[in-house]
């Protein structure tokens, strides 16, 4: 598929997981998601727009989030993303998968 903008410091697929998790709290626009991720991760995770928006499109296409235009805090038109039921299920699955992966990596790191 040619070039991708997957940030090098994230494991593949992790960004989707993070976005879905962020949306659990309620509808958010793209900027809000980016800010939120940065805050929660204590400024560690800098999600570039170049990877955020393709990821959002992907989630949208898969039906895991819904998008609707609304007004942001400062009254600008912004697109708000909401988690769908399918998205919630997906989040659970991804979460389990991720935990398995992390455990596996930890195991490798500790024993190897």
């Amino acid at each position: 598929m040619g070039l991708t903008n997957q940030p090098p410091d994230l494991l593949p697929g992790t960004l989707d997981l993070l976005i879905l998790r962020t949306l659990v709290r309620g509808p958010m626009h793209g900027y809000g998601i980016a800010e939120r991720l940065r805050q929660i991760s204590d400024e560690v995770l800098h999600v570039g727009e170049s990877s955020l928006y393709p990821a959002l499109q992907r989630l949208l296409m898969n039906g895991w989030v819904k998008a609707a235009w609304g007004a942001s805090d400062n009254n600008r038109r912004a697109r708000f993303y909401t988690l769908t039921a399918a998205g919630k299920r997906r989040l659970d699955e991804e979460r389990k998968e991720f935990q398995k992966l992390v455990l596996a990596i930890q195991k490798v790191l500790e024993t190897a």
Partner: protein, 890 residues
């Protein structure tokens, strides 16, 4: 989810715009954040842009997320096809037109077949319905079957369509009325759109509690009353009786006979006389019913056979003579599924329509070949482009797919145009099949089945059109193609059998087949029309329906006498007469009886059947039949005088082989009803019902000698005119108007009656000819295209030959020969196919063999002539090639 993707795929622009707006909103928020941190708006804007990074790349990525890659390349192919549409509109128009012609005509015919033959009746569970054949039964059989076979038919109804005169407001209009027994609507399981349906309670002689009631069809309610609900309670006169409209049938419901759309439905027995309700020999009711849930049509049929003899036994008239009785008890029945209804229109047109479908399918194949040829020519012209694309790494599969996609686009556009044309053409076809006597009403509207058929057809056509060009594209050899010059490639052009030539020859073959079919039908029609009718065809036939205007018995006789009187006084009228049946009685039917000779008893025997008509003196002279011996009827032949009869020469040949018939007696009827008639005249043979019939043996009686019971009928008038028939027809209208303005009349020439009786034959001949000529045009264009292309590719070789001293006539012949060879190969194949397939049309041909050599010669000759014409222009161009110019190219 699929839907989201599809939407994004179809409207990429909108998605991109939304994404752009979203990212811009994001940037603005970021800018605001920077401003809060203390930057100047200008700095903040710049910083926010930097922070966002490569937005274009992000958008590209986002787009890639949206489209599966194959879907995206498909979109590109379609877009590419549309670009061709803009860049070579002539090519695109030709493709779409050819496809529209092929698919449209096939859809139109299939649409008719669907409406007439395939479509389920619009009622509840139509597959549980069954009808009883042979076609009609008496009322006693109906009641008896209801009583004895409830295990076969828990619900059974009788119905009939009958011509009647309906008076909606002031004028009487002839119309076909559906008469159905009280169980009709309940059995079919439909609900009224308005008001109520009639039931068993309404279905009794003279009417039920509400008197005479009628149900109006939805279409009629819409057309005549603009869907005004106040139609309930209105009255309408049907054959001079006043009916109250109590309900409106649901939209789309036409009864149980596809092709006929009666406006009014009335209970079966309200107008019936005692004879119709009691005589076991009066067969006038069709029977249809709903089978019990758990039995198949076959099992139901078996069960019906069990009770049938008893039904006959109970209903047989005890006074019947033994031979009649045996015949009555010998009647058999069979049960058929009535899922799609039961209709005489279907019986008349089903076979011709299937044949027509086969013919349009052939045209479609020709059109597909044309499309393939066009695409092939384009593929060749695009060889270099394709080779370049191959060279820079496009997959072969990708190129093939592109060809297929293009074909699908052309076909889809063509199918769209074709479907639009099809509903128009379908209505046109229905109009062609309709006659005054026999109006046909068919919903030719599109439905799922017709649309699926068209879609499947379009897909097949697209594949057919794409397969050759695609194969060529996949075989393209990048290196060789790019190296070769146009001169070198030309050399092979004329001789090798390329895909293009094969296609053209196939087209020629199919065209010959279609032309042959057309020639057969045209010749058959010609044969029929050329038949010696035995009378003149420009005689006017005046049909008046005085009974509808209330004339009966003596008043009816007086009306007819006055009518004849007035007709004879009109200037330009040479002679006038009255008769029971008009010449070419067609739908008016026939009157047949067995006769005995010289006092021998009359027996029921098909070989003794004779056709009867009753006429006034002067009938033979009026319509132009010759009196061969004896005399015509005269005013002296009355009810009081000796019974006389005039017979045709064929009748004489059959019953009086010694030729001496004048003064001999024939008898009709038996026992106390027996009548002896003396032959007083012999006339030349004439057609009775239609031109195609074998010569009938006809006996003419004097109207004034008919028993009164037989005289209570409308008579038709024949009028022989000198000069302008139109002016005379107007005068006739005036004269009848002067007698009584309420009497409905119709005036036509015998020739017009013949035309109406030949509607199936005419429609077939006309459509087959149209299809044949369309195919011919396509084949001609294909031949021309191929030759013109070959000549232009071959200019170098031709130039060389001319430079080396070849005669220009030789060059011309070289091209013409090519055209003829292509044509001849196709014609030979076509002739072979015609021999093989002609048999399918045999049933619809009259005195023409299904392998008629003249038709075959005409089809082959026309095709070869056209092939020659198609070659003329390219041949001339070849002969004009200037060697200097041609050899300098490249």
């Amino acid at each position: 989810m699929m839907l989201t993707r599809l939407r994004a795929w179809i409207r990429p622009g909108r998605w991109d715009a939304e994404l752009a707006e979203e990212i811009e909103a994001h940037r603005a928020l970021k800018q605001a954040e920077y401003e809060r941190a203390g930057m100047s708006p200008h700095e903040a804007a710049a910083a926010s842009r930097r922070a966002l990074g490569n937005v274009t790349l992000a958008r590209e990525d986002a787009r890639r997320v949206r489209f599966a890659p194959w879907l995206e390349s498909c979109r590109q192919d379609v877009a590419y096809a549309f670009r061709i549409l803009r860049r070579s509109p002539a090519f695109a128009a030709a493709m779409v037109l050819v496809m529209a012609l092929g698919i449209g005509s096939t859809t139109a015919v299939f649409g008719l077949l669907d409406a007439l033959v395939l479509r389920d009746l619009p009622v509840r569970d139509p597959h549980r319905l069954a009808y009883v054949a042979h076609p009609s039964f008496s009322y006693p059989v109906f009641t008896e079957l209801k009583r004895r076979a409830p295990h076969v038919f828990p619900q059974l109804f009788g119905w009939n369509l009958e011509g009647a005169n309906v008076q909606w407001s002031s004028r009487l209009e002839p119309a076909e009325i559906l008469m159905a027994s009280g169980e009709f609507y309940e059995t079919l399981g439909i609900a009224p759109a308005l008001g109520r349906f009639f039931t068993v309670a309404d279905d009794r002689s003279g009417g039920g509690p509400d008197g005479l009631v009628a149900v109006i069809s939805h279409a009629s309610w819409t057309r005549r009353f603009g869907r005004d609900p106040s139609v309930i309670g209105r009255t309408v006169r049907i054959d001079r009786r006043v009916f109250t409209i109590v309900g409106v049938s649901p939209a789309g419901f036409f009864g149980v006979a596809p092709g006929l759309a009666p406006e009014l439905t009335i209970p079966l027995t309200v107008l019936a006389d005692r004879d119709a309700l009691e005589a076991p020999t009066r067969s006038w009711i069709h029977l249809m019913g709903r089978l019990s849930d758990d039995i198949s049509v076959e099992r139901a049929d078996a069960a019906l056979q069990q009770v049938w003899p008893a039904v006959l036994e109970v209903t047989v008239n005890p006074g019947m003579p033994a031979d009649r009785r045996a015949m009555y008890l010998g009647r058999t029945v069979t049960l058929h599924s009535a899922r799609t209804g039961f209709s005489r229109v279907r019986n008349q047109f089903e076979e011709p329509l299937w044949l027509l479908l086969a013919l349009v399918a052939l045209l479609l194949v020709v059109a597909t070949a044309s499309a393939a040829n066009l695409m092939l020519a384009r593929a060749v012209a695009r060889r270099r482009e394709l080779a370049v694309r191959l060279a820079i790494g496009a997959g072969r599969w990708r190129l093939v797919r592109q060809m297929v996609t293009e074909a699908v686009v052309w076909t889809a556009l063509g199918a769209g145009a074709g479907v639009l044309g099809a509903s128009w053409a379908g209505n046109g076809l229905v109009a062609m099949m309709t006659t005054w006597e026999d109006p046909i009403a068919l919903e030719t509207g599109l439905n799922l089945r017709v649309l699926s058929f068209t879609a499947a057809l379009a897909l097949l056509t697209a594949m057919g059109a794409a397969v050759f060009p695609a194969l060529r594209a996949s075989r393209a050899n990048a290196g060789a193609t790019l190296k070769e010059s146009s001169q070198l490639t030309g050399a092979a052009g004329l001789r090798r059998w390329s895909a293009g030539k094969l296609l053209v020859s196939a087209q020629v073959a199919l065209t010959v087949l279609l032309l042959f079919g057309a020639a057969l039908f045209v010749r058959s029609l010609q044969r029929i029309v050329e038949q010696d009718a035995g009378f003149d065809r420009d005689v006017l036939i005046v049909s008046s329906d005085a009974q509808a205007a209330g004339y009966e018995a003596e008043r009816l006789k007086a009306f007819h006498a006055a009518l004849l009187e007035r007709l004879r006084t009109i200037p330009g009228v040479e002679a006038a007469s009255l008769s029971e049946y008009p010449p070419i009685s067609d739908e008016d039917g026939a009157w047949t009886q067995s006769i005995g000779v010289d006092g021998a008893p009359v027996t029921q025997d098909a070989s003794r059947y004779v056709y009867f008509n009753a006429v006034t003196p002067g009938y033979f002279r009026t319509i132009g039949m010759r009196l061969l011996a004896g005399r015509d009827f005269s005013d002296l032949d009355t009810a009081q005088s000796r019974r006389v009869v005039i017979v045709t020469e064929s009748l004489v040949r059959r019953f009086f082989p010694d030729g001496d018939a004048l003064g001999r007696r024939v008898s009709v009827g038996r026992d106390e009803n027996r009548q002896d008639l003396e032959i007083v005249g012999i006339v030349s043979d004439a057609k009775y019902q239609r031109l195609q019939e074998p010569t009938r043996r006809i006996a003419y009686l004097a109207i004034r000698q008919l028993p009164d019971s037989m005289r209570d009928e409308n008579l038709v008038a024949e009028v022989r005119t000198s000069g302008a028939t139109v002016a005379v027809a107007d005068r006739i209208r005036q004269e009848i108007g002067a007698l009584d303005t309420t009497v409905p009349i119709r005036i036509q020439t015998i020739n017009e009656r013949i035309r109406e009786s030949l509607v199936t034959e005419r429609v077939l001949a006309m459509l087959a000819t149209t299809l044949g000529l369309s195919a011919l045009a396509l084949a001609c264009a294909a031949l021309y295209g191929l030759l013109a292309y070959t000549v232009s590719r071959q200019a170098g070789e031709i130039g060389l030959r001319i430079a080396l001293g070849a005669d220009r006539a030789t060059v011309r012949w070289m091209v013409l020969r090519q055209s003829l060879v292509l044509g001849a190969v196709g014609v030979i194949a076509g002739v072979a196919a015609s021999f093989a397939l002609g048999g399918f049309a045999r049933n619809m041909l009259y005195q023409v063999s299904a392998s008629d050599p003249f038709a075959l010669a005409a089809a082959a000759g026309l095709m070869l002539a056209i092939a020659l014409c198609a070659g003329l222009l390219p041949a001339r161009r070849a002969a004009r090639v200037d060697p200097v110019v041609a050899l300098r190219v490249d």
